[in-house]
């Protein structure tokens, strides 16, 4: 599921997600060359809370992306509608506007 997601999602969203995880884990965990093994200890309850936070964040990312797509759509006076629909036809329209359909 993650692989499929990486291959079809917009770079903006992917970056936002990796940034989120990276800042969550911190520098030691993100640099394998430091040669340190980081292990996180938590109770089931706290782990559940973290999962919920992250799911909610993912949900917000999708909504943020939607708003961005709408904004592009609404203020694209310099980009003709044809241009946008063309791009949209090229990429497979999965529906529920994704911002990369409308990227410059």
């Amino acid at each position: 599921m993650i692989n499929a997601f990486v291959s079809e999602s917009s770079p903006t969203v992917l970056n936002a997600m990796t940034d989120t995880i990276n800042s969550m884990l911190g520098n030691i965990a993100n640099n394998p060359q430091m040669g340190m093994d980081v292990t996180v200890e938590a109770t089931g309850e706290k782990l559940a809370a973290l999962c919920y936070q992250l799911q909610m964040t993912g949900y917000m990312f999708r909504n943020a992306e939607y708003v961005l797509a709408l904004k592009r759509l609404m203020s694209i006076e310099s980009h003709s509608i044809e241009e946008v629909s063309e791009r949209n036809a090229e990429s497979e329209p999965g529906g529920f506007l994704q911002s990369h359909y409308l990227l410059h």
Binding site: D19, I21, M24, Y52, M56, N63, S75
Partner: protein, 270 residues
């Protein structure tokens, strides 16, 4: 931490910063019959353009658009709802253009909100429409205080609701402090209010419920069937595993919103 990344995301994309008359223009452009509201047929007109003339616009796109903005459930979108949905408005309760907007900076300057300093004289207040109005200082401060009280009670209500949703999902054990530190409540409360409003507003109970189910699934051992993890039981996760788990949760949330928007949610769940 998550808050920082969300902010970074917004900053990168000028999500909330791009306030301009373009919005009003866009609204008027979409509102083709100049009724002051965007109706379903007008949404269809807008979105059909994206899909091109040939392919059919799926019905859910209109529904989702409408649901995303329509706050009072009248099936049409007012200018206020439009602004709010796009994150233009910085505080709730800002209605038509005649009301003046009072921006209260949160946090820093409210050390002694109950001071009763004596005031006199006239204050010049610059209204939204550039008119300057003279107001009696005492009346103005009284109005500000009333507004502050209203905001506070709204905030309190919000916190209650958040606490309730935390309970619903079964995360709010007997440890209130824990919820504040790590739970949804603390996290969302830390975000600027309008960001959260615009982005989680209208989340359906179905989605909350499936989040709960998914989390139980993780705790039950997930796909690896690793054995059930109890609430109080400690587990040690290598950073790599936590990274995978975290990414998976983000993608799940993202997908849930997508399914919700496409109206496919119910089919998948069964």
């Amino acid at each position: 931490m998550l808050r920082a990344s969300l902010e970074a995301f917004f900053n990168h994309t000028t999500y909330f910063t791009n306030i301009s008359p373009q919005y009003k223009k866009a609204f008027n452009r979409i509102d083709t019959d100049s009724s002051g509201f965007i109706e379903a047929s007008e949404i269809e007109g807008l979105l059909q353009e994206v899909y091109g003339g040939d392919s059919k616009l799926p019905g859910f796109e209109i529904d989702t658009f409408l649901k995303f903005f329509d706050e009072n459930g009248d099936k049409k979108i007012s200018w206020g709802e439009f602004e709010m949905g796009l994150g233009v408005v910085k505080s709730k309760g800002v209605g038509g253009g005649n009301e003046h907007v009072l921006m209260l900076e949160g946090g820093e300057n409210n050390a002694s909100p109950t001071t009763t300093a004596k005031l006199s004289g006239i204050i010049k207040v610059e209204m939204d429409n550039d008119n300057v109005v003279d107001v009696d200082a005492n009346e103005y401060v009284a109005a500000l205080k009333a507004e502050m009280a209203a905001l506070k009670s709204a905030l309190a209500k919000e916190s209650d609701e958040l606490a309730m949703s935390g309970e619903k999902i079964g995360l709010d054990g007997d440890n209130d402090e824990g919820l504040q530190q790590a739970g949804l409540g603390g996290y969302l409360m830390a975000l600027p209010e309008d960001n959260v409003k615009a982005l989680t507003k209208g989340i359906s109970n179905d989605v909350i419920e499936s989040m709960r189910m998914l989390i139980n699934y993780v705790l039950d051992g997930g796909p690896a069937n690793a054995g059930k993890l109890e609430k109080e039981e400690k587990v040690a996760l290598p950073a790599g595993a936590l990274r995978q788990l975290g990414l998976w949760q983000l993608v799940l949330g993202y997908r849930l919103r997508e399914l919700e928007a496409k109206g496919e949610y119910k089919e998948r769940a069964n």
